[in-house]
Structure formats: C-alpha cells, structure tokens
Point group: C2
Chain length 334, copies 2
C-alpha cells in the first residue's frame, strides 16, 4: 500500500499523509488529531513513502555511493563499515562498488555511479590516474570526496594520511634499529600513495646519511602470486636487505610466505614493517610491526567533507596521522 491509497482509505489528501509521514506536519500546520490518525494507520498497514517517488520529486535518493578498490582488503572493509555506520542514523543508504583494483572497471563503475541520482559519492581510487578519471571526478554533479589514494592535480575534497611522512616513519624505525640495507615491497607502483611512501623512505635514508640507491625495490600488484614472487625476489638478493617495508597491506602476506619458503626467520634473518594494521598483525609469529592508519577518523572526516548539509565545500586536503605500532618483527642490529 502506498501513501495515496492510505490517504484514500483515511479520506484525507495525499499531501496530508505525505507531510505527516515525512515529519513536516507542523511546518504545514496539520492538526495533532490528524497526525495521530495518519501515523496510526501508517503503522498498522506498514506504509512507508516509496523512496523512488520521493527521490524523483526531491531529486535525491537518500543514498550515497562508495567505490573501493577491494572490499576484501581489511582496510577497506573496515572503512566501509565505519562509513555506513555514520550514515545509518541519517537514513542514508550506502551503495557499495568494488573496482577490483582495476582502473578500467573503476572508470566504468564511477560513471555508472555518477549517472545515478545519488546524494554523494566517496571514492577510494585504485590509484592510477587517467584523464578520464580526473575529469569524471572533477565534473561530478554530486558532492564527492576522494579517500586514501589521492588524485594529484584534481581539486576535490579528500582525506588521507601523509604518505611521505608515513614512509619516513617506517624507514626511520628501521634505521634507528640499526638497519642500513633497506628493501621495499611495493603494491601498485602507479599509485601516488605508493610512490609517496617510497619517496618518504628514500628521504629518511638521505637524512640518515644512507644512499637511497642502496634501497632494494620490488613488486607491483596486489595479488597473492605477485607479492609472493616479488617478496622472493627481495629475499634472495645478496646481500639480502636486513629491513624490509611492505608498502601495502597485502604485501606482508607475500613476504611471510616467501620467508617461510626460503627457510628464513623473522626478525633473526631480516626485520619487517607492514603498512596497514590487520586483525592478525599481532598474532603472527612474530607479531608484525605496522604503520596504522586511523580508519575511524578517516571515515568521520570523509563523511564530514561529503557535506550533505550543503555547507561550503572544503577543497583543502584533509590529512590524518598514521602511527607506528611497534611489535617484534623489527629487531635491533649491531
């Protein structure tokens, strides 16, 4: 039953029912008695205004879009949950899309989302910037905020950590522990975040008087197979880097697998730091030292920037703080 049928049943106008059910009763001076009558009936027959009709009329659907590169990655699933939670009370639904770390899929999904009548869009890009992506993002007809892996050269509200700083944080921890020969396992080398983390590592080395040219770098791609391959590459180098940084959250799994396959032991044979805290980080043998991103606060800021109340748009990138979580996967060397 829809509200016009309900109105007919009650012998009142559709508009009256609409006003009552959307909470605008007093704004339009509907008598308390009528309000009660309508509410009772609406409850009884379980009638709720159809979001489609309302959406069409209001030009909004009460729904935002969330595009992530990989919902399977704990970082993004935690983020997704945090974001959805924040919208729950406001009655706004979240439509999730997963671009599977593929730029082409990303563009296609983004365009589809942009053509839907959403209230806003939160995009965590794959990280590879194309002109098409840039123009799609910057010409968005709806509020849009970019999360995590930023799009350089696009003026749009965003929130992420300072990846250079985070890279330095990781490198410095290794350097302070006495490591001189560092290695990096990259995730997606076309992503700015990855590049910046790497840059941070190199800067830290320079500042510590180490030659960035001695940094061993491997890896491209997030799949299990690729990271295993690249990690093996890194571990079979001679001399083997004594301190390794996984620039992505999944990379560490490849490193662990490769380490095991090579019969190496952490942190005896090498130390390791991984980006992104995972549920199992502390439970590995040894517990893994991580660079932790403040997911809750990222979600909060993203939602704030999305700015559904219509306040002025912030285009200053919002930066949140990454922290080092020290565990036993990093050992001091002489």
């Amino acid at each position: 039953m829809n509200i016009s049928e309900l109105a007919q049943h009650l012998g009142v106008a559709v508009s009256t029912v609409s006003r009552v059910l959307s909470g605008n009763a007093d704004k339009y001076r509907i008598s308390e008695k009528t309000v009660q009558r309508v509410q009772k009936a609406a409850e009884k027959y379980r009638v709720v205004p159809d979001p489609l009709g309302a959406g069409l009329r209001k030009g909004k659907l009460g729904m935002i879009g969330l595009l992530v590169p990989d919902i399977t990655n704990p970082f993004f699933s935690t983020l997704a949950r945090a974001i959805e939670l924040r919208f729950r009370d406001t009655g706004i639904a979240v439509q999730l899309c997963d671009s599977a770390e593929d730029p082409a899929t990303e563009i296609a999904l983004l365009n589809k989302l942009l053509s839907r009548r959403l209230d806003g869009l939160i995009v965590a890009p794959v990280g590879e910037v194309s002109d098409e992506l840039k123009s799609a993002v910057s010409n968005s007809p709806m509020p849009l905020v970019v999360l995590d892996r930023l799009l350089p050269g696009v003026s749009v509200p965003s929130v992420s950590i300072d990846n250079i700083k985070a890279g330095k944080l990781a490198a410095n921890h290794l350097i302070e522990s006495g490591h001189k020969h560092l290695g990096c396992l990259r995730g997606n080398c076309r992503a700015i975040s990855d590049q910046e983390r790497l840059k941070g590592v190199e800067e830290a080395m320079r500042e510590a008087g180490l030659d960035p040219a001695t940094l061993s770098i491997a890896g491209t791609g997030y799949t299990r197979e690729l990271s295993l391959l690249s990690a093996t590459e890194l571990l079979t180098l001679s001399p083997r880097p004594s301190g390794i940084i996984s620039l992505s959250g999944q990379g560490i799994l490849g490193i662990l697998e490769a380490s095991r396959a090579s019969g190496l032991s952490i942190p005896r044979d090498f130390s390791v730091i991984a980006f992104d805290e995972q549920p199992w980080s502390a439970l590995m043998q040894p517990p893994i030292t991580t660079i932790t991103q403040p997911i809750e606060s990222m979600a909060e800021k993203a939602v704030f920037l999305l700015n559904l109340e219509g306040r002025a748009k912030e285009v200053t990138p919002e930066v949140v703080e990454a922290t080092l979580c020290r565990r036993e996967s990093v050992a001091a060397v002489n």
Copy 2:
C-alpha cells in the same frame, strides 16, 4: 541533460529517444537514421536515462540489496565481491548493508531494504531467529534468498553448507588423529549454523565411541575480546582439550592469542581446526587447518536462486560442499 531535453534538442519525441536508448528501437520501428542520430547525440552530451524515472515507471530500480552480518569478516567480504561481480554485467547494482552481528540492527535494515523498490534481496542473517525476522523474510515483496546462516521454519530459497556434516568433518579429522578430548569455541550460540556444527561434532564423537559429554564448550560472540576470553577459558581447563575446533572464522584469532598468552604451542600442546579459510590461514605459525566453504559457488547459486528472470522459485534449500584443508595445526597423538 535528461532525455526529454535531448529529444527537444533533436526535434523528436521523448518516447523516441527513450526507445532508442533502452534498446527497443526495432521493437517500435524506429528508422535506422533516427536511431543513429539519437545515439550520436546521446553520446555527445553524455545523456543516460535517469534510473529514478525509469525505476519509478518500471517499478524496478535495477538494484539488489545485500545484507551481511559483518563485512569485515573475510568470508562475507569475499562473498560480497563475488556477488557484486556476478551482477555487474547485467547492469544491476548492489546495495550493501552491514548489520554488525546485531539482531535489532538486522531487523531495522531488513525493513528498510524491503521498503525500497529493489529487484531482489540477498540476506546473510546474523543467525538469531525472531518472529519479526521470520515474517519479514517470508513476506518479502521481492525475490529474496537467504545465505549461510539459515532461518529454520521459513520457506524461502537458501544456500549454505551442511553444517552438521561440516562439524563432523572437523571432529572426525581430530578423532582420526587420535584426539579424544575435544573442545569447541562457539561463535554466536543462538545461530543455527553454530548449533548444527556443534551437533555435528557431537555426532562424530558418538559414532567414534566418545562420550559427547566430555566435549568442552566455550564462547559466545564474535568480538576479539569475547573470543580471547572464551579461548582462554578453554585452554586453562584441566585437563586441557587436545583438539579444539573454532566454530567461527574469527574465533581462531582468539585461540591463537590465548595460546600465545598461555605460552602454549600449536600443535605440540593442542591441535586446532578453524571454520572458514582466511587469507592468512596458511601463513600462521603453524599453518591452520580449516574447514573451507566454497564461496564462489555459494555466490553463484545465490544469484541463480534470486532468479531475476522470473522463473519459478526454488524453495528447496541449496546445499554446497565444505571441504577440509589439512595443514599443520593438527598433529597426531598416540
């Protein structure tokens, strides 16, 4: 620009543009020339029929709902991705909701989803059945399929593993390895799946001549803290169970943490099997033996049952096969 503006711009009727853009050109005998002209212009001005208007008219929105208990759980995030992927080509979007393992939230979200004009709904329930949940599910105005944790007594298409059989599978592996004193860490003890897995374990014990009364059981709830607590409880029993089964995917993390805290070593001090394969299962020290659910095939069957083409509804529960993945967390005892 919407299609009526485009129509005006081209000097044709809206209906003509609509028919061209929705691929019904020949069905309504639109001349090839007009088709070309409309398509060209639509492409040029990037005009796509508004899903809201279309949805309102057609009574469908081209979107299904997916309700999961915890998107942070790898099992569900993998499932979500698999499902979304299968709908991608058909142009159907997936709206994700996370009930956070909370029955009340689940009801609220379910009702909200049911009142939206969706093409279908896939529900992976928290597992606690209430009359309200039952009636909401069975009175669904749209195609609906239940996934994973079933709702007994509700006649609705469903897909899951045979949890009793899976429980037996786990228990038998331990029993065959010589374990006589078993323990179970439950997830949500009100969920049928949990109860059935437990029943399977007990049956296996009985069949092997073991007294089910000797089975040690602990645990309720999926949070980190709760599973740590319950796992500790299990491990400090005396005598300590020599073979432990985590009935839920997250439980194993609690067991590992408790084991570490108690200075115990797996599988020297006790053996362990966990439900649900996780990305890190094979990378733990020792690699964890798991009961693996065929996620891809569950997604496939769920989508098939959702049956958007309007074929007859299957109400026979679809059962898929769980498998044992043997690793080193189970050792043979004398």
